[in-house]
């Protein structure tokens, strides 16, 4: 009896009730879905179509373009480094330590995520500007000012991008099996060593994904940067700022700069998809 039943079950998927059957999609969903896709893709296609392909190699090597690109890559990478050093411990604190006001802290961490970047730039000026809360002290003690410097660009980018990293890493830490940390403790490992030797390697993919998102956000940062660091070529003019400036004088240059940013972004997305986003 049992054997026959099992045979029946095995035989079924190939039969009439195969799950491979194509499902009908209601038009009420299909049309807006297609429109939504077109809305997302068409502007990018426009960028590709209008790109001055013939003069592209010459325009890419123009000194202004390369300077902006180099500055963008340098500041985004440095900002990501700052976010890693400060954000991973913050994520660990939120994920692993019970303390009063933890919900409030988590809400505060996510504020820059929803804050208009220009407002972030104004807030940074009030804190780190020459007359700001911390800026005044920095100026009088070290003779060091952040606004309108390359370091200021890094600060603005880190401020806007860090929530991406903290949220991604906190999620990874919550998803990681805490019992590995307990196992480490029973082997004589204190919490710091456990964090370095066990927790970090276990959540490394989550940290890498968070760092990439953070880097992409920093690379595209505009509002906070132009407010806090200004728009000085070679010093604070990153790619998005250069695009904005070029748009007023030279549309072709703006398209080229945009194209570069688009390629970098798509490359990151592809990297993320292949390496981490598809992993469970």
């Amino acid at each position: 009896m049992v054997g026959i039943d099992e045979q029946d079950v095995v035989a079924r998927p190939g039969g009439a009730a195969s799950p491979r059957r194509v499902q009908r999609v209601p038009m009420g969903l299909m049309i807006p879905a297609a429109a939504g896709l077109a809305f997302l893709v068409l502007p990018l296609a426009g960028l590709l179509i209008r790109a001055p392909w013939t003069t592209l190699p010459r325009r890419l090597t123009e000194p202004g373009v390369l300077t902006a690109l180099r500055l963008s890559l340098q500041t985004a990478t440095t900002a990501t480094g700052v976010c890693l050093v400060l954000g991973v411990p913050l994520a660990w604190l939120l994920a692993r330590v019970e303390f009063p006001g933890r919900r409030l802290v988590r809400a505060l961490v996510t504020v820059p995520l929803v804050l208009p970047p220009v407002v972030g730039g104004v807030a940074l000026l009030l804190a780190f500007g020459r007359n700001g809360l911390i800026g005044r002290w920095l100026d009088s003690t070290f003779g060091f000012t952040l606004p309108f410097t390359t370091a200021g660009v890094v600060v603005a980018e880190a401020f806007v991008a860090m929530p991406f990293l903290v949220i991604a890493v906190e999620g990874a830490l919550r998803g990681a099996d805490i019992r590995y940390e307990e196992a480490a403790a029973t082997l004589g490992s204190d919490r710091w060593t456990t964090f370095i030797r066990v927790t970090l390697p276990l959540v490394a993919p989550g940290i890498a994904a968070g760092a990439l998102l953070c880097w992409a956000r920093a690379l595209g940062e505009f509002g906070a940067t132009i407010t806090f660091a200004g728009n000085f070529p070679g010093r604070t003019q990153t790619m998005p700022l250069a695009v904005y400036l070029a748009l007023e004088t030279d549309l072709q240059a703006a398209i080229v700069l945009s194209l570069i940013l688009l390629i970098v972004s798509v490359a990151i997305l592809a990297l993320l998809r292949d390496r981490w986003l598809t992993a469970p």
């Binding site: 099996d177 019992r179 590995y180 307990e182 196992a183 480490a184 403790a185 029973t186 082997l187 004589g188 490992s189 204190d190 060593t193 030797r197 066990v198 390697p201 276990l202 490394a204």
Partner: protein
């Protein structure tokens, strides 16, 4: 590395009280050096909580844990030693080998944290892997190991820190039957060689009987029976223990050679005794008849079949009646009687195959430490 700290007296002297709202664990444990104690009980009895309390992964609500003569947890004096400073080694149920480290680095992890330099720790780990027969697997990552191999790496990792107390949480539960047999034998050998105390948490009676010198049986957060395997298998004191060792068990009032176990049923027994008593007999001692049997068996009563299942080569028959009882019958007898659920039969048990023993005597091990 923790050797030399040993003082006379038991390695473990604990009164574990953990209160978690609806559940309260309250057990006393003493484990001597070289002794393997099996903590046995059904799921949810509090076994793993007890192990975690000893390991320092679960703080006590009250009571105390004393390891190798030193208090590591005593809430009333605010004494607390975290897991990393307790002289313990733990083999977790699913091993929890660090997935990013090789087998050798997993074993070397403990010695490194105890201050052994990198080279010596790796050598120590290699020696331990050799002892568990995995010298050729040292460079593999945990995901490349079979279940049995991972279990042995976990054991080597726990033993590599020379723990005073080795804690094993269901160490064989994740293995298939065949691997389990081999691994159980190997584990038995390593436990026998371990100079410190060992506590084995399991819900499998066979693991406990094979591996432990002494059994502590926990139900619903309390110790219900304690003793060596022979005593517990011969004289179970709760339904759980009786089922565990495969006996029918009843509690009643004895008056000479009869024990009244229900309003309408008194069982004749061979061992004369008086007062509160247990009667136990194996399912193989129960005979089933289609009509009232004549002749020698004095214990007979009508019953109804409620269930039938395979049990080795025999059929295990569950019966309802004045007392619930399990019977083992051969397939031939079952066919002969045309056994089916709902069918009425007559049950017969010979007095000579029953064991009766007093119910109100506490085993010495339980009273020794009480109050």
């Amino acid at each position: 590395m923790i050797e030399g700290m040993r003082r006379p007296g038991p390695v473990v002297d604990a009164h574990i009280v953990v209160d978690r709202g609806t559940f309260r664990l309250d057990i006393r444990l003493r484990i001597e050096s070289g002794e393997v104690v099996g903590l046995l009980g059904p799921n949810g009895a509090g076994k793993t909580t007890a192990l975690r309390a000893l390991a320092g992964l679960q703080p006590l609500t009250a009571g105390h844990v004393t390891l190798a003569g030193g208090d590591v947890d005593r809430p009333e004096r605010r004494t607390w030693t975290p897991a990393e400073r307790r002289p313990i080694g733990v083999v977790f149920q699913d091993y929890l080998l660090f997935p990013h480290l090789t087998a050798q680095d997993n074993v070397a992890f403990g010695p490194r944290r105890h201050g052994v330099d990198r080279r010596s720790a790796r050598q120590l780990a290699a020696d331990w892997l050799e002892r568990v027969g995995l010298a050729d697997r040292a460079r593999l990552k945990p995901r490349q190991l079979s279940g049995g191999q991972a279990q042995r790496v976990a054991l080597a990792r726990a033993l590599a820190v020379h723990p005073e107390l080795l804690l094993l949480d269901e160490p064989l539960a994740a293995l298939d039957a065949r691997t389990r047999l081999d691994t159980r034998a190997a584990l038995h050998r390593h436990l026998a060689e371990h100079p410190g105390a060992s506590l084995l948490v399991t819900h499998d009676p066979l693991d406990a009987l094979v591996l432990a010198d002494r059994l502590v049986i926990v139900e619903a957060g309390h110790v219900v029976q304690e003793g060596d395997a022979a005593t517990i298998t011969a004289q179970p004191r709760t339904d759980y223990v009786a089922r565990l060792v495969g006996l029918n068990l009843y509690r009643g009032t004895a008056d000479g050679q009869t024990v009244r176990v229900g309003p309408d049923l008194a069982l004749a027994v061979d061992d004369p005794l008086h007062g509160d008593a247990f009667v136990a007999f194996p399912p193989s001692a129960v005979a089933l008849h289609s009509s009232r049997p004549h002749g020698s068996p004095r214990n007979t009563w009508p019953a109804t079949i409620t269930g039938l299942q395979r049990n080795g080569d025999n059929l295990r028959v569950q019966l309802a009646g004045p007392i619930g009882v399990a019977a083992d019958v051969t397939p031939a007898a079952a066919a002969n009687l045309e056994l089916a659920p709902g069918q009425p039969v007559w049950v017969a048990v010979k007095a000579t195959q029953t064991r009766a023993y007093p119910a109100d005597v506490q085993p010495s091990a339980m009273t020794r430490d009480a109050r």
